[in-house]
């Protein structure tokens, strides 16, 4: 629901200074009414002031919603920009406006103009423009004429020597309220026979100035340093700037303001500057021998940089040319280094900045050289000739000769050759393999929790392996030393037989155990394969040359297995029999090794 303020509560308020200084460039009177729906503004009668602009109308609306109730507020402001012309007290009659069919009247005003001196009628007077004192913008659709907005260019100085810097400045001139917001170049200016360098302007700092009886805003929009490359009259062509002026869109919905840019709109206007002429004097002839081409005020300094005066050591002769002038156009001075020095193309470092005085700073020329042989050398004196446009004559600066006592260096010929190859060769190519990107700045692994956990994991794996091989170790531990194949097979079969205790009945276990022992004895002692009779096996064993204890031990195990298999109840437990079988293998193994040792010792004895 929209609630409009009651017309009865509305007033046409006026704000204006009570007194104004005669030297103020302008001041403003504002008539404000809290309604956007106004009509028929009747302007006041203004005498004693020059109306620079007005009445400029500004309408604003705002919406707010509280507890579901939408409230709309509007405001209309009529602004006059006036210029005080003479001292005195002046009356401004009441203005009026119609709102909702009712005529609202503002108070009449009395403004006193005083101050020291009188109004300066001459052009060019400038005063800083305060952002809080900006005149209101014009309504959209208002034509921008060349008297409203124009661009000018001027040269300083207009007459220069060849290679001497001239400053080209472009300025804008606009009437208050035109609303120039942006200036851009349609295309880069083409300065023929001139080397140009742009001087950064930064933010446009506008001031007010009077041209004739009219007050204008003015500011620098672009500056160039021009270095003419030939003498004669050179023409700076006219260039076109693309200007954007901001105008107020009077009736604008808040949503339109959001989408279209806040109640104002930009209008593009092109402005062309007038061509300019630069008179360029030629440099005096004849030019001295060795003239560097430098024009300005310059100084030269030379310094040898080295860590050791030794063969193979890279050394640098640094020549610094400083001052103001066409420093960036200077080429490296030529130096006649001793012929057996290895020399490289001089490296130029530009430490200058573009200022209104010209290019200022220093150019550093680094001449790199490497002495190859031991001896006393001299880098000859260097003369630097430049032209000083202030006095209009050539000047010569001289750097004295530099002496060098080269001794034998520490680098070997191979090392020197390697460095020389690097200097003359290319670098290695880029790596186009997959990106190994990590968002962290540092090591990915070292000293992280994960890293130390990896040690714990390794320890865990080793413990598991230890546990997993424990059974095997137990078996092997019972039978010391290296096992022959028969023993290995027997031990493995014993282990398999033990599993029968869990999966099958004890009888199967005992018969399997007896079979393992019987087969082992057959293989180990070379017994004939029998039908599995225990007694037959024992008898065959007794025929062999074996210790009685071993035979008895084997017979005991086999008989116990037979007994347990038939009776199901036996004195021997399955585990005990298992242990006995392992021990039997161990004892047979020992006996076998002893017999082998005795047979190998016999031939020696």
């Amino acid at each position: 629901m929209l609630c409009l303020p009651l017309v009865a509560q509305l007033q046409l308020e006026v704000t204006a200074p009570q007194s104004v200084d005669i030297n103020e460039p302008y001041f403003q009177i504002k008539y404000t009414v809290r309604s956007a729906e106004t009509a028929d503004f009747r302007p006041p009668t203004i005498q004693g002031f020059n109306i620079l602009s007005g009445p400029n109308t500004s309408v604003s609306r705002s919406f707010s919603s509280v507890n579901g109730r939408t409230k709309s507020e509007g405001q209309t402001v009529y602004t006059y920009t006036l210029e005080p012309t003479t001292k005195g007290t002046f009356h401004i009659s009441a203005a009026a406006v119609v709102v909702g069919g009712k005529t609202l009247h503002a108070k009449a005003l009395t403004i006193k103009v005083d101050g020291q001196g009188s109004r300066k009628p001459e052009a060019g007077q400038a005063a800083p423009s305060s952002p809080n004192n900006q005149p209101p913008l014009r309504r959209a659709g208002t034509a921008v004429t060349t008297s409203d907005l124009s661009l000018t260019g001027h040269l300083s100085p207009k007459k220069v020597y060849e290679q001497q810097a001239a400053v080209l400045t472009y300025e804008f001139l606009e009437k208050p309220g035109v609303g120039l917001s942006q200036v851009g170049l349609n295309q880069k200016p083409d300065f023929k026979d001139i080397v140009s360098q742009e001087v950064p302007v930064g933010q446009i700092n506008a001031t007010t100035t009077r041209v004739g009886q009219t007050l204008y805003r003015t500011g620098v929009i672009g500056r160039y340093l021009l270095y003419p490359q030939k003498s004669g009259k050179l023409t700076i062509p006219s260039i076109t700037f693309n200007c954007t002026v901001v105008q107020r869109d009077a009736i604008l919905d808040p949503l339109d303001a959001f989408f279209n840019g806040g109640g104002t709109m930009g209008v593009n206007v092109n402005r062309q500057t007038q061509p300019l002429e630069l008179e360029v004097m030629p440099l005096p002839s004849p030019r001295p021998q060795g003239f560097s081409g430098g024009v300005g005020e310059m100084h030269i300094d030379g310094k040898l940089i080295y860590s050791d005066q030794a063969t193979g050591e890279m050394m640098t002769y640094r020549i610094t040319i400083s001052g103001v002038g066409n420093l960036r156009l200077l080429s490296a001075p030529s130096i006649a280094f001793p012929t057996d020095f290895e020399t490289y193309t001089p490296k130029v470092t530009d430490n200058t900045e573009v200022t209104l005085e010209g290019v200022k700073g220093q150019m550093v020329f680094d001449y790199t050289f490497v002495p190859r042989n031991v001896g006393h050398y001299e880098i000859p004196a260097i003369s630097f000739v430049y032209f000083d446009p202030v006095v209009g004559e050539y000047k010569t600066l001289t750097l004295p000769a530099k002496s060098l006592d080269i001794h034998q260096g520490t680098l070997s010929e191979d090392e020197l050759e390697a460095i020389r190859r690097m200097r003359e060769g290319d670098i290695r190519p880029i790596h186009t393999d997959k990106s190994h990107f990590t968002p962290s700045d540092g090591h990915r692994l070292w000293n992280t929790v994960g890293y130390w956990l990896a040690y714990v994991v390794i320890v865990g794996i080793l413990l598991l392996l230890k546990q997993a091989t424990k059974g095997y170790a137990h078996l092997k531990g019972s039978v010391s030393g290296h096992l022959n194949k028969a023993s290995k097979v027997a031990l493995r079969r014993l282990k398999s037989a033990k599993k029968l205790l869990k999966t099958a009945d004890e009888r199967s276990y005992y018969s399997a155990l007896a079979a393992v022992v019987s087969d082992y004895l057959c293989r180990q002692c070379g017994l004939q394969e029998n039908s599995g009779s225990t007694q037959q096996t024992i008898n065959q064993l007794r025929e062999k040359d074996l210790p009685e204890t071993l035979i008895n031990e084997a017979a005991d195990i086999l008989q116990q297995c037979d007994m347990a298999g038939f009776a199901a109840q036996s004195e021997a437990t399955p585990e005990k029999l298992y242990e006995q079988a392992v021990n039997l293998i161990s004892h047979f193994e020992s006996a076998y090794k002893q017999s082998r040792q005795s047979t190998t010792k016999q031939p020696q004895s």
Partner: protein, 256 residues
Amino acid sequence: MKTFRYILLFVSAFCLTTSAWAGQAQMSPEALKAAADSAYAGKDYVSAARHYESLLKKGIDVEALYNLGNAYYRMANLPKAIVCYERALRYAPSHEDAAYNLRACRAKAGVPQEQEGGMFFVVWAKNEIYGHSADEWAVRALIAFAIAGAALLLSRRLTRRWLRRLLRVVMSLAVVVLLVSIVSAALAHHAFTDNRRAVVMKPVDVTDESGRKLPTPLLPGQTVKTGETSGKNKTAITTLDGKVSGWTDSHCLEAI
């Protein structure tokens, strides 16, 4: 109609917000590197450098650092190239190509090469320790630990005496490698975090404590060890060979 326009307003605001988020994560590191590599191959070194820089703003990629060094070299900016190679070697000291290109750029820039002085063994040990990153040493330590553990376990299981002796030797060696690797990783990590090196970007003088200019100025591309910084934008420096020590302008240095 009004309601529709308000909805449009909110939808636009939502789209603006989401597009801002999307803009931040526009290109993945892989895509950025691929774009940079492609620009480099097309000799558009400025674009390549810009892509590599964008990638490196998001994190670390040693290969991108190395490639960025190459891009700066192609643009004849040797000091910047040296900074990139130094940084690449800081993260991956065993990067052979970065080490080679760094030496080549130093040779071309006419600045001293880095040379370790002292006894042969000390030089060799330093090169070995600091020639690998802490992570490389960390991996070696892990492998040595696993070998030592496995050798210990096997030596208790095997019965042949010569094998058991051999395993004990292997275990002892692995323990030595483990300890050396752990110490080296710690040293390499300390060298990485306590990084006090910078590259000289502009020709600049060195002054002593009293502000007097020293006869040997610094050259662009020269690597120096940095110390404390004074309030007057001055940084204490020492050249790599230790022959020149003094104060210089901080703005002429770029930390590695």
